[in-house]
């Protein structure tokens, strides 16, 4: 059948080749390709799911960031409002304190004025009383003693009246 060494036979080689090519074509189209396509489709499905999940995660992270920004803005607004209200409270307190001080000063001032008036009134009353006492004493002396004695007594009474007056002033 063949003169080549090792019993090499081209006809049989071609038959082996035909056999293998048919096998290759059938295995490729019937088994290999469908299984590979299934695996690639599944991989694509999972990749799409992964991408979708990643997109969702990114979107949720963006939403979270937005909410965090809003929260931080709200917090800063709250702190500003707190500061403002604290300032208003301090301002009110200062104004109330000032008003209380003014009221106290006014009360003190009025009390002082009242005291001064009262003092003047007492002094004038005391002076009137003294002069009345002096008049009474003078009348009595004039009726009971001589003129010289009377004059001395009059002087004593004046001294006494002055001494009392100075005590009152003190």
């Amino acid at each position: 059948m063949s003169n080549l060494p090792l019993n090499i036979n081209f006809a049989q080689i071609f038959m082996h080749l035909l056999n293998f090519l048919i096998l290759f074509a059938i295995l490729y189209f019937v088994l290999y390709k469908p299984v590979r396509n299934f695996m690639e489709n599944r991989e694509k499905t999972y990749r799409d799911m992964d991408d979708e999940a990643r997109d969702n995660l990114r979107a949720s992270e963006e939403t979270k960031a937005q909410y965090e920004t809003k929260i931080s803005e709200a917090e800063s607004e709250i702190s500003q409002m707190k500061q403002k209200s604290r300032q208003e409270i301090e301002k009110n307190r200062d104004s109330q304190l000032q008003a209380a001080k003014d009221e106290a000063e006014r009360i003190i001032r009025e009390a002082k004025a009242e005291a001064t008036r009262e003092k003047d009134r007492i002094i004038s009353e005391a002076q009137a009383e003294i002069s009345e006492m002096v008049t009474d004493a003078t009348e009595k002396l004039a009726l009971q003693a001589t003129a010289g004695e009377a004059f001395d007594q009059f002087l004593d009474a004046v001294d006494l009246a002055e001494e009392r007056g100075s005590k009152h002033e003190q």
């Binding site: 019993n7 036979n9 096998l23 295995l27 490729y28 088994l31 299934f38």
Partner: protein, 279 residues
């Protein structure tokens, strides 16, 4: 294990031992009385004695083994295509997992060794790997064919036939050549022709490896006394191992060379000559 089970086991072992002993003593002590071991070995290498009639032609048993291997694989592929693949699920079952592992292995082998061009190559190495593995495993079953001389011989691995091995080596080389042409056009032919020793080395590597397995198996089965127990270790393990190893080696070599010839050219960097500035 209770007493009844022990008794059953002992009976089974006794029957097996009796059958084996009967086989050893009742069969002819020398075995292979029609051919000497030298003739068997020579025929395993050259296939010049035992021929098989195929469509009126006298062919080597290896060619018939090739057709049987292809037949088994094609029927299995069609059955899987009809009954299994349409029922594939997103979470694979056991058989789907096996199929996906096989296809995924060859696809990844192609992608790893030939990242630029690998769609068809994955299919080629899948088919070549399946053919080599299944054909070699066919030796284990000892399927008998009748020769033109009226003898019965067990079917060898298709690639232990030199014609089958040459076909596989040359086809793989031509496939690598198509990769070179697909990637670089006519320049790809030159790239592939540089590896002119590849078809010879691939053919004879396959032939030598598979022939050695066939020879050892023939030798073991030639003597009747060696046909008991020894084939379990020598026949089964040796056949399984070299079926796996040869399928792996050829597919790996094809993918590596295919990747090499289909690799895109790296553009040469233009170096500007800097004129010496005169001081």
């Amino acid at each position: 294990m209770d007493k009844k089970q022990k008794k059953t086991m002992l009976i089974i072992f006794g029957v097996i031992a009796a059958v084996l002993l009967a086989g050893i003593f009742l069969t002819s002590g020398n075995g292979g009385e029609e051919e000497s071991v030298q003739v068997v070995m020579r025929d395993a290498v050259l296939h010049d004695v035992n021929k098989v009639n195929f469509l009126g032609m006298e062919v080597n048993p290896g060619l018939v083994a090739g057709f049987v291997t292809s037949g088994i694989l094609i029927i299995a592929a069609i059955l899987i295509r009809i009954f299994v693949i349409p029922k594939f699920t997103m979470v694979p079952g056991k058989f789907q997992m096996v199929l996906e592992t096989l296809v995924g292995y060859f696809t990844n082998l192609g992608k790893t060794n030939s990242p630029h061009l690998n769609r068809l190559m994955g299919g080629y190495i899948f088919a070549a790997g399946a053919y080599i593995f299944t054909g070699t495993m066919l030796e284990l079953f000892g399927i008998q064919v009748v020769t033109t001389g009226g003898h019965s011989v067990s079917m060898p691995a298709p690639l232990s036939d030199i014609n089958g091995a040459i076909m596989m080596g040359c086809t793989s080389y031509l496939f690598i050549l198509t990769g070179g042409i697909a990637a670089h056009g006519l320049k790809g032919i030159l790239k592939t022709l540089k590896e002119f020793s590849l078809p010879i080395s691939m053919s004879f590597r396959l032939f030598g490896a598979l022939l050695s397995g066939a020879l050892v198996t023939e030798l073991v089965y030639y003597y009747t006394a060696l046909s008991y127990v020894v084939p379990v270790i020598v026949g089964v393990l040796f056949t399984c191992l070299h079926a796996l190893i040869q399928a792996y080696v050829l597919t790996m070599l094809v993918s590596i060379f295919y990747g090499e010839v289909s690799e895109p050219d790296v553009p040469k960097l233009k170096t500007k000559k800097v004129k010496a500035v005169k001081a």
